[in-house]
């Protein structure tokens, strides 16, 4: 007897398979569908490449902005950490009183280091730097005060903590006034905070657009394969069986779009690195742009895959049930 007529099941029961058979069949079908959905992309190369390019660019923009904000934050952090407080002592303060002030400042728990620049040292330095030696000799007395350069401990380098320390130092007897030049840092921090918020908003909007793009692409795929879906339903395909290839297509779109975004971000960083280095040199800073580390890459790919899955899921849920044999 032909193999065709072997193994007839009992038609009076819905042919439920054993758990092992279902598991094996399910795995077999999923593996087939994963590769056949990739094959579908391959069969329509132009449309697939265009969709992946749109997704890649959509994901590239927030990723690149995120990297720029991250690098900017690191740069400002470095600048903040180099921050010092300059204390100008009162004009009549003697060297002995200045040394006593140094001692009292050194024992403050927030202070890492304190350096005394005496009025004489300051004048010598000024003469050397300005070249006004002759002019300064006409002065009756040294107009410069003793100065203390205070370096706060690492945990007191943040603008707010440094300001609190400055206020405390200002209360010392011989201190005329102190100076902490952090206003510009505050402004930069605020700008970076706004930029960071903008990155999140842009990222959110672009994520929504990615979901919509993939959803619409999958909708068109479903409509193009309407006849095939009807035939599949007629020969006993479940909604899940029909649904999964489209979900895998969405995942492929997301994954390939994410990879494209990663390549583009790496390329953009490579492209601007030399410009950044030249700029940093002007400020005598050593800036190395940090790119996408393993975690960031995983996040981008994971997010892209999730967006692909979400877009295709929404589309599939809506359209597969609507297509029924009539």
């Amino acid at each position: 007897m032909s193999i065709l007529f072997q193994g007839r099941g009992n038609a009076n029961k819905i042919r439920k398979q054993s758990i092992f058979q279902r598991f094996r069949g399910g795995i077999t079908n999923h593996v087939r569908q994963i590769f056949s959905s990739l094959g579908e992309l391959w069969r329509t190369p132009l449309a697939s490449v265009m969709t992946i390019a749109v997704l890649g660019l959509s994901i590239t923009l927030p990723s690149a902005l995120y990297i720029l904000v991250k690098n900017s934050s690191q740069v400002t952090t470095n600048w903040e950490q180099a921050g010092e407080i300059t204390l100008y002592l009162k004009e009549q303060t003697t060297l002995k009183q200045a040394n006593a002030t140094v001692l009292s400042v050194r024992f403050m728990p927030e202070v890492e280091e304190v350096q005394l620049i005496t009025a004489e040292q300051a004048l010598t330095n000024f003469e050397a730097q300005s070249g006004l030696t002759n002019t300064l000799s006409y002065l009756d007395k040294n107009p410069l005060p003793h100065v203390l350069v205070v370096t706060p401990k690492r945990e007191h380098l943040a603008p707010t903590a440094a300001e609190q320390l400055l206020a405390r130092l200002n209360r010392l007897t011989h201190v005329d006034f102190g100076k902490l030049d952090i206003e510009w840092l505050k402004r930069l921090t605020a700008i970076l905070s706004i930029a960071s918020d903008i990155v999140w908003v842009v990222a959110l909007l672009l994520c929504i657009s990615v979901v919509l793009i993939i959803g619409n692409t999958i909708r068109l795929n479903i409509l193009n394969q309407r006849e095939e879906i009807i035939v599949m339903k007629l020969v006993g395909a479940t909604d899940n069986f029909i649904r999964f290839p489209f979900l895998y297509t969405g995942i492929w779109y997301g994954l390939l779009g994410g990879l494209m975004a990663w390549f583009l971000v790496v390329f953009i960083l490579w492209w601007i690195q030399s410009g950044i280095e030249a700029l940093a040199e002007l400020y005598q800073a050593d800036i190395v742009l940090s790119g996408l580390d393993g975690t960031a890459l995983s996040v981008i790919l994971g997010l892209a895959v999730m967006l692909g899955l979400l877009g295709s899921y929404i589309s599939v849920q809506k359209h597969i049930k609507e297509i029924e044999p009539k």
Binding site: S2, F5, Q17
Partner: protein, 236 residues
């Protein structure tokens, strides 16, 4: 295998397609369903293939009451029904092999089982040597045979055919019907909707005749004249 009990079907526009239809097709039986266009043949096939539900009455397919059947169970019931369509319903962008393999892929058969079964089905319909071709390259008769191979490849207990020879010449039509008889001899229940009274008379199987949604005859057919006398007007 199939049981209709007082089945009526009215479509949403108010069009009455079936009125109190009763019949039963037993396991291993082969029967024809005939009647004018609009008599209700397609509605009966749609009810059996679970594309429609009855408005009144009960339809049992392979023991399942369609009124009680949940939507998620429909695909599993359809796997026990091989369906053949006048329009073939083939996937033109796939090979003949892929078309015939579709029900097996859906059921999760292994690659080895699929190759063996598809080869056997194509052998039976005489298309084994064309399995890698596209259905587009085949004639209408060959496409219909691909449809038959797909319908029987998972060995369903019931085979439904809707005007399977509608576009074929008489010689090819007879070949197709002989193939159905061969499948029926192997134990498959077969239910065929057709206008082809010549073939019905020639093959001498049970024939159900519909007119305006009513069953007007259910008899073992050995004479064409009894149908034509019962049907008003000419039947194509």
């Amino acid at each position: 295998m199939i049981k209709f009990a007082n089945v009526s079907k009215t479509y949403s526009g108010g069009q009455v397609a079936l009125q109190r239809v009763n019949f039963e097709l037993k396991a291993g039986e082969m029967a024809f369903l005939t009647g004018h266009s609009g008599a209700g043949k397609s509605t009966i096939l749609k009810l059996i293939s679970l594309m429609e539900r009855p408005s009144v009455g009960e339809v049992f397919i392979n023991g399942h009451d369609l009124n009680q059947l949940r939507r998620k169970d429909i695909p599993y019931v359809r796997r026990d029904i091989g369906m053949i369509f006048q329009s073939h319903q083939l996937l033109m962008d796939r090979t003949i092999f892929d078309n015939v393999a579709l029900p097996l892929v859906i059921e999760g058969y292994t690659r080895k089982q699929i190759v063996r079964r598809v080869s056997a089905a194509l052998e039976l319909v005489g298309l084994r040597n064309k399995q890698e071709l596209s259905p587009k390259t085949l004639s209408g008769g060959e496409q219909q045979r691909v449809g038959i191979a797909r319908a029987i490849v998972n060995n369903p207990p019931l085979l439904l055919a809707d005007e399977p020879t509608g576009n074929l010449d008489p010689k090819l039509s007879l070949e197709i019907f002989h193939l159905f008889e061969e499948l029926n001899n192997r134990g498959m229940s077969i239910f065929i909707a057709t206008h082809d009274l010549g073939l019905i008379a020639r093959l001498k199987h049970r024939t159900l005749t519909l007119d305006k949604g009513r069953m007007i005859e259910d008899a073992l057919q050995d004479d064409l004249s009894s149908i034509t006398t019962k049907l008003p007007g000419n039947v194509r």
